[in-house]
Symmetry: C2
Subunit: 225 residues, 2 copies
């Protein structure tokens, strides 16, 4: 875990991308990989790659580069992804159902174990392999299954009440997909995925590119999502 | 549009959050709002709010604060959201279907007008109000409907080929949800939403909070998503 290391957040955000490429290379039978190759794949500068990877405690060797297995293990460990983490989803609307059925989470050690909704019409239906459970059984569920992470995918006007309820149930990490800024106690970690913010950046960059033809500014892709 | 102003990207990312609160306040019949109130709602410092909003060309007045209507108009204009932008989605899997059915986009002027897939088994089925179209009709569609933005929601190994195809069809802005770093020509704007990067930050912050109890560091919620 990241207890001995204090990796900057921008580097943390890039680690999953390295992991993806390393796993792909491993599948292709490769044993070693150079910082240059990683940089090329990700559109980064080699020096950035070396810095990011050094922060996980691994350094490349001249001519050989990085040992892929070593690097995969180190990154997985830094991210705390070596053991799968159980999480539950609150809200079985479009977004919640999509997240429940999304098969990409398992690759980074996140296991969605349950999904809850308050709509009686949805209870008992299936999303992916999960049955939608009534939200008033959530306390019981969290206590008996010792889940510590919850994904909020309810409408904006229910998001704060949902967060408050989750905190009372003992949840320590909240991943918020609702379009709402939430307040949680200091000992709870809150991460937000704000689709509107991403689209705002795309809109403004497009506007700049096609309205400021004179400036000729190169707009880079945003690897940090 | 953002042609006269050069607003920093972190400010751009916060603009949709201001917009959300301003619209809510307007619905509640309010006419004016203070930077302090906006700051409180979003968990920001008032000085940050004033700076962000000044960058859109609007300044508050002493005692009165900001005129809500004025601010909504200004932010919407800066983001280029005063006219709805048409976009299409490539990939009708879990993620693509969720995005197609997601009702939150319209609030920020993004209108999903079509969804495409290459799987014959999916063609003709409905997602939300849209019928899934065959991907080999996409060139025709883009040309006749003059769409400039595309959302990529295909598996990682098809993402680069999809981006190349979209660029050839004349798409100028790509919003990539596939877990893959894409390369596009300089005149195309690429924005990535990387769920793995978000979860990495949550994981590492959780690890730091519960493994470094000694440090007592306050971990702030990430408003930038």
């Amino acid at each position: 875990m990241a207890d001995e290391l204090n990796i900057p957040i921008p580097s943390v955000k890039r680690l999953p991308s390295y992991l993806r490429i390393l796993r792909q290379a491993k599948e292709n039978g490769e044993k070693n990989i150079s910082a240059t190759k990683l940089a090329l794949e990700l559109g980064l500068k080699p020096i950035q790659v070396r810095k990011d990877l050094a922060s996980t405690g691994i350094e490349g060797r001249p001519k050989v580069g990085f040992v892929i297995d070593e690097l995969i293990m180190s990154i997985t460990h830094v991210l705390g992804w070596d053991n799968a983490t159980d999480a539950l989803i609150i809200g079985a609307g479009n977004m919640g159902s999509a997240l429940a059925a999304y098969d990409g989470f398992s690759a980074y050690g996140l296991r969605i174990v349950a999904i809850f909704d308050k709509d009686p019409g949805k209870i008992g239906r299936s999303v992916g392999n999960l049955e939608i459970l009534p939200v008033d059984t959530i306390y019981q569920y969290i206590k008996s299954h010792r889940v510590t992470i919850a994904v909020i995918a309810v409408p904006a006007n229910q998001a704060q009440a949902t967060a408050d309820m989750l905190v009372k149930c003992g949840i320590r990490g909240i991943w918020n997909f609702a379009p709402k800024n939430l307040r949680v106690p200091e000992d709870v970690v809150l991460q937000r995925t704000d689709l509107a913010a991403s689209f705002a950046v795309l809109s403004v960059k497009l506007g700049r590119k096609y309205c400021e033809e004179t400036e000729g500014e190169v707009i880079e892709s945003d690897i940090n999502g």
